[in-house]
């Protein structure tokens, strides 16, 4: 029925990791990594989100159906981004040229 009860220590550990990652992302933003800044920032955010999803939202021990729903949501977000970017990234390929 309900998920197993986890020790408080588990939640505190995840919390600590999230705080450390927050410091990390602020720190890294100060460095000049050129185009990698945004990727690192997004990667760290993705890791934080994953930790919240798996442990705070208990998806780790949820049913396959719940996991499927989470994956489906992310996939659909990907479809929105992917096919829209497909247009913007290819605007310069043809005579249309840059609109911006």
């Amino acid at each position: 029925m309900m998920h197993q009860v986890h020790p408080v220590r588990m939640y505190l550990t995840i919390f600590a990791v999230l705080i450390i990652l927050t410091f990390t992302t602020v720190f890294v933003a100060e460095l000049d990594l050129g185009p990698w800044n945004v990727f690192v920032a997004l990667a760290i955010a993705a890791i934080k989100a994953t930790l919240v999803i798996l442990f705070f939202m208990h998806v780790m021990e949820s049913s396959s159906l719940t996991k499927l729903f989470v994956v489906a949501g992310l996939m659909w977000l990907g479809l929105l981004f992917g096919l829209t970017f497909n247009d913007y990234m290819s605007r310069t390929w043809s005579a249309l040229g840059k609109w911006w």
């Binding site: 992302t25 000049d32 705070f56 949501g73 659909w76 929105l80």
Partner: protein, 223 residues
């Protein structure tokens, strides 16, 4: 031949159209997850707009970072992460039937959420004072980027505003949890509302986890 499901111990919370409490619990959590899917797509549209314009106007977007207070934003991020911890602990206390702990952790979550909103209100006021509200009160110092920076600040207000609205709704939901817990509605057998409000709260936290780097940490460095 008919199915008479075996009699199951349950409290008054089992609705008549469900056969088993477990079925009702699974339906409730699946329902909240389905709702969160709609929220992913809702915010997703805003993130898509952001991504396209940042790619188009990297310099203008980078120029806006000087007006974003990273310390304030970072502290607010930490506050929200703390609130996620207290929320998760409230859910855990609900699973254990610990009424007082549920109330304390939920109120703690509410307080942390209110701190977040207060800081946000302070930031909004600051933006107004600095003439960084598109349409209403806009004056951008760097005239090269005055137009395109408006897009970023428009998105800033819409995205953080939407997030704040969701936080306020969350505060209302948390309050209803406090009231329910106070009235001793929750037992170790049934604390579903705490869990599903928890899912909602964590989701709102995740949205901010992405908003923070994208709005505050664009940095002095171009894309």
């Amino acid at each position: 031949m008919a199915a008479n499901t075996e009699v199951v111990e349950h409290g008054p919370e089992l609705r008549h159209h469900f056969e088993q409490p477990d079925q009702q619990y699974q339906a409730a959590t699946l329902g909240m997850w389905t709702f969160l899917l709609t929220e992913i797509m809702f915010f997703g549209g805003l993130f898509a707009a952001y991504a396209i314009y940042r790619a188009a106007y990297p310099d203008a977007f980078a120029s806006t970072s000087q007006y974003m207070d990273v310390i304030v934003g970072g502290v607010n991020t930490a506050v929200l992460i703390c609130s996620s911890l207290t929320m998760a602990l409230a859910v855990r206390s609900g699973q254990l039937g610990q009424r007082n702990a549920v109330i304390l952790f939920t109120i703690a979550t509410m307080i942390l959420g209110a701190v977040f909103l207060g800081v946000k209100a302070y930031e909004y006021h600051h933006k107004w004072v600095e003439h960084l509200v598109p349409g209403f009160n806009w004056h951008y110092e760097d005239s090269r980027y005055a137009h395109h920076a408006q897009i970023l600040f428009f998105l800033y207000f819409v995205m953080t505003g939407m997030h704040a609205i969701h936080m306020i709704v969350g505060e209302g939901l948390l309050l209803s949890l406090v009231i329910m817990a106070w009235r001793k509605k929750f037992t170790s057998l049934w604390s579903t509302p705490i869990e599903i409000v928890g899912l909602y709260w964590h989701f709102v936290d995740i949205v901010w986890i992405f908003l923070f780097p994208l709005l505050y940490l664009i940095g002095k460095h171009k894309l």
